[in-house]
Amino acid sequence: MLEPINVSLASLNLVTLSPMLIAIAGGLIILIIDLFKDGLHKSLYVMMTILILFVDFGSVMGLNVNERGFFDVMLIDGVAIISQLLILAASILFIPLALTSKRFHEYSYPEFFALFLFMIAGFQFMVASDNLVLIFVGIETASLSLYTLIALHNRNNSYEAAVKYFTMGALAAGFFVMGSAIIYALTGSIELYQVADVLQDRINEPAVMGTILGGSIFLLAAFAFKLSLFPFHTWTPDVYEGASAPLAGYMSIVPKIAVFVVAMRIFGMYIDLGVEWVRILILILAVLTMTLSNMMALVQQDVKRMLAYSSISHAGFVMAALALDTTKGNTGIFLYYGLFMFTNLGAFAMLWISRHKNRIFHERYDHPYEKFAGLVKIMPMGAVVMGLFMLSLAGVPPFSIFWGKIYIMSAAVDAGYIWLAVVMGLNSAIAAFYYLKLIVYMFLYDPVENDNTVYYNASKPLMTIIGIAVAATVGSVFFMQPLISYIFYMVSASGY
């Protein structure tokens, strides 16, 4: 017979669960409100969501570093806290973009906001655990919500995008479980700290190396898909194109932050164990990703697709930092995404502003370059703002992403990977071309059609969000010091 188990509530450390619970509860509240009263305006839900996220944010802020909770399933280390903060911040920035002056399909569903909150809870679970089960379930919760959110945009491209994303995601899930199965078969555990202990003992057994590597490769393939690394990136441009512009911007940041944290936990472990091949493979993937996606971005005719490829390239850039497995490199990941968040979201928000329902500039694309031709004449501030975002993405100082870039390049140099820093530099130069192309269209060409279409979707909340993004992009130099020192402290406190 089994002994009854006594668990004290204090030992569970339930506070570690609070942020996710807040998000889930928030989602449920929204569903309940919808249940009681139909036809409420989306602005209510937007504000509700913001408030819930705000509370969530506050509860994350209140967490103590390096605590485990709930039978050690929950792991609240510095990385978990920063990544949650970044996820929540990006979400708070994202959700007001629903308040456009035109109506779009997804925002007519209160469920949209509930799913959004569940998705955030999923991400939060992912980053706040080192148990592969919880990570897996978190990933799937978030992903399933995300597929739905994409499809809710409700036009042909969005279904196509959602289906593509879903199908490839299912394959990636297969990779993930197979990788986990190999790890479990090898070590008898699915908790990373124990896996590390066991592997540490077995690392010298001659035949095991291949198996260790095999397990890591399935996981790498799964995460490479989520992080859109070459050649697992193919979904990205199509999905970004099919999704609404703000969601595409959101997808380029939040899921990636979450997955980076998990990847950092898993592959950091492998690299620490001295499985050098993992590092080499990651570096190969990273370099291929940034280079090839840059090249593909060069030849795009659509700004949104260009930004999609550029996001892939940025992810490759950051992935290279992950391969370094140094505190500085890992700090760089969060710093980079913390800065990328504002700029990229701002850029996608600018596309969102210019989204027109039925004015077809191009039979296929929503945002062809031609649409932005001569923007400076039609909408000078808009052009300047978009130009700033582009310059920032290109890494022109003193705009935000420049600081992330040099921090990561510096990390590469410190780790002895000077060639990598050079490759990063050259890639930035290639990338500069396609960002410049948009600037050239906006500033140097004459408008194709001189009307106010580009104002189409603008509203006060959108302007506010863009204003915040601009302020963060331009004034980044003034908050770099606190940002770097905070992230560095958090990352090093978690031992990465």
Binding site: M1, L2, I5, V7, L17, I24, L31, F70, F71, V73, M74, K102, R103, F104, H105, E106, S108, Y109, E111, A114, L115, F118, M119, A121, G122, F125, N131, V133, L134, V137, T141, L144, S145, T148, A151, L152, H153, N154, R155, S158, I182, A185, L186, T187, G188, S189, E191, Q194, V198, D201, R202, E205, A207, V208, G210, T211, G214, S244, K357, N358
Partner: protein
């Protein structure tokens, strides 16, 4: 001895059934063989002492999932033979073969470790369901709850995606059209 016979029999059957699933042109055959394969897999679970898992497998897969697929199949009117363009079979089988080969090589290594300290050991004399229940509701309670949320998400997703509201897209219609629809 029985174990060996059972293993090899089940293995061959499972592989055969799943091959039918993957290669058959007829969706009905594919689905039926998939369901049969799932049943056989639950057989493995019983062989491996995971009774609870075996039962869940039977209920969820054969009961729920297969039923869903069956409904979907009817919805899509996919009972007829499906024409698929399989242009590069060589590549597909090469890749599949390679994956199989690699996995065999990887698993052929002496992966089993002697000195594993089981975290949640199988207790002798206790039913599998009971033991599983204990672990599931202590250690894996959080994932369990998250899985619940996940299922909720799946439910909501299924409902709204398949719902009628999706038939009229607010995204592609002009605002004037939408407001007319609203007033209806």
């Amino acid at each position: 001895m029985y174990e060996q016979i059972a293993f090899y029999l089940f293995s061959v059957l499972t592989i055969g059934l799943f091959l039918v699933t993957v290669l058959s042109k007829n969706i009905l055959y594919a689905m039926t063989s998939l369901a049969a394969g799932m049943v056989l897999i639950s057989g493995f679970f019983f062989m491996l002492g995971a009774d609870f898992l075996g039962v869940v497998q039977l209920i969820v897969y054969v009961g729920a999932v297969m039923a869903l697929y069956a409904f979907a199949m009817m919805f899509f009117d996919a009972t007829r033979d499906i024409k698929e363009k399989t242009t590069n079979d060589a590549l597909v089988f090469f890749l599949g073969g390679m994956v199989a080969l690699m996995l065999v090589i990887i698993f052929a290594a002496p992966v089993f470790s002697e000195n594993i300290q089981a975290m949640y050991p199988v207790v002798e004399g206790v039913g599998n369901a009971q033991a599983v229940g204990l672990v599931l509701f202590t250690k894996y309670l959080v994932p369990f709850e998250v899985a619940a949320v996940m299922l909720l998400v799946a439910m909501i997703a299924g409902i709204i995606l398949a719902g009628k509201k999706m038939d009229h897209s607010l995204t592609t219609n002009d605002d004037k059209v939408i407001s007319q629809e609203d007033t209806k």
